[in-house]
Each structure stands twice: as structure tokens, then as C-alpha cells.
Symmetry: C2
Subunit: 122 residues, 2 copies
């Protein structure tokens, strides 16, 4: 297995699939076994098992053992890592946007202003 891939790579890739996002949503409510997770989906149990493995390798879930069962548990840490990454740049660009709007509003005040293209807001 290629272990060198970044954790963010795998975390984002893991959530790029609607089925896996569904599993995460389900696991946010409570831990569940693979069989329980597979129940709402019209795919094989092996497919869900693969999905859980992807989530596990992305650090999004952990699995313990309880007899034959392998209850899956959602971890907040990887979600936290992703959220932090996104918010860093989201805030940065929103901040930049706000400053640009300020500048435009300031310059457009007293003077006669040619049609000034502000943000392309629909």
C-alpha cells in the first residue's frame, strides 16, 4: 500500500463519494456495523466494506472488534483537519473580497464613476 499519500488527500478523496458521505452521516448518529451500514444501499456488502476501508485509511473512522462484528466509529479529528484547511482559505478569500468591496465603495463615492464592475453576483 502507498502510505506516502497525504492524509488530506485521502480524507478529501474519501468524502468525494456520495455513498461514503452517506456512511459518515449515518455514523454521526451512532456507531454501526458494516451490515447495518450497507442496509440502505443497493450494492453488495463487499462494496460497503471497501468504502469503510477507504474511510478508515483516511483516518475518518476506526474499527474495533466485538465478536464477529466490527463496529465502525466516526472520528472527529480528520473532519477537523479538513474543516481547518478549508476555513483558512475560505476566510482569506472572503476577507480579500470584503476589502475590495470597501475600496470600490470608497472610490465610487464623491466622484463621477464610470460603470464599475463589482462582484459578479447573480
Amino acid at each position: 500500500m502507498e502510505q506516502s499519500a497525504d492524509l488530506l488527500d485521502r480524507a478529501f478523496a474519501a468524502l468525494a463519494d456520495a455513498t461514503r458521505r452517506g456512511l459518515v452521516a449515518r455514523l454521526a448518529v451512532s456507531d454501526a456495523t458494516v451490515s447495518e451500514l450497507a442496509e440502505p444501499y443497493d450494492v453488495s456488502l463487499q462494496a460497503i466494506s471497501k468504502h469503510v476501508k477507504v474511510l478508515e485509511e483516511a483516518g475518518l473512522v476506526t474499527r474495533s472488534r466485538d465478536a464477529q462484528r466490527r463496529p465502525v466509529h466516526l472520528k472527529a479529528e480528520a473532519l477537523d483537519l479538513m474543516s481547518t484547511w478549508i476555513d483558512r482559505y475560505r476566510i482569506e478569500v472572503e476577507e480579500r473580497h470584503r476589502r475590495l468591496d470597501d475600496l470600490l465603495a470608497r472610490t465610487a463615492g464623491p466622484e463621477d464613476q464610470p460603470p464599475c464592475r463589482k462582484k459578479d453576483q447573480t
Copy 2:
């Protein structure tokens, strides 16, 4: 809600690549052309152009036209969508974790605690 599923797919997939995350980080500072974006990377210009296209189809960036240049602009909206999705379940699982800790702290006080099987409470 379901309309955004496809967009979430593409947004998460877009950020699953370290190069594209690098482009987003660069674009958070300021808009840039494809050539400028490609400069730090040791791949062809076409490869970066493809990456930008992926970001665009994920709704993460827009492109305008300025003579020959196609300046790329980072949009906060898609980042916001992803952040919102993640935080919903991140908070949910953290909340659940906190409640479990509370329960354990409360119950573990006076009594000696046998391994307590907590089944799915659905």
C-alpha cells in the same frame, strides 16, 4: 439539498489533489493566470490548465477574460458548502462524544463498572 450532491462530489474530489490544493492556497492571496499558477510546479502548462478546469467545474474558481489572459478567481461559495457539510457531522459526533463522556463520568462514580455493552440506540 440533493442538487448540491454532485457539486459536493466534485468539490471534494477537486481538493483531494495536493497540486489543486496548492492552487487554491495561491488563489486565496490573489487572482492569477494559468501561467503564473503553473510557475512553481514541475509539470506542463496543460496539466495546470486541466487542474484549473477541474476546480472550475467544482465551482471553486471562475475565469474571466483579459486580453489573452484568463485570470482565475477563487470563489468562497463552494468552500463554504464543503465547510458547512463537514461541520454538521463534525459537531454532531463531537457532541455525541461529549455526552458519552458525561455518561461514563456520571456512572463510573460510586459503582464498579463492568464492561457495559451499549447497543445501537436507534
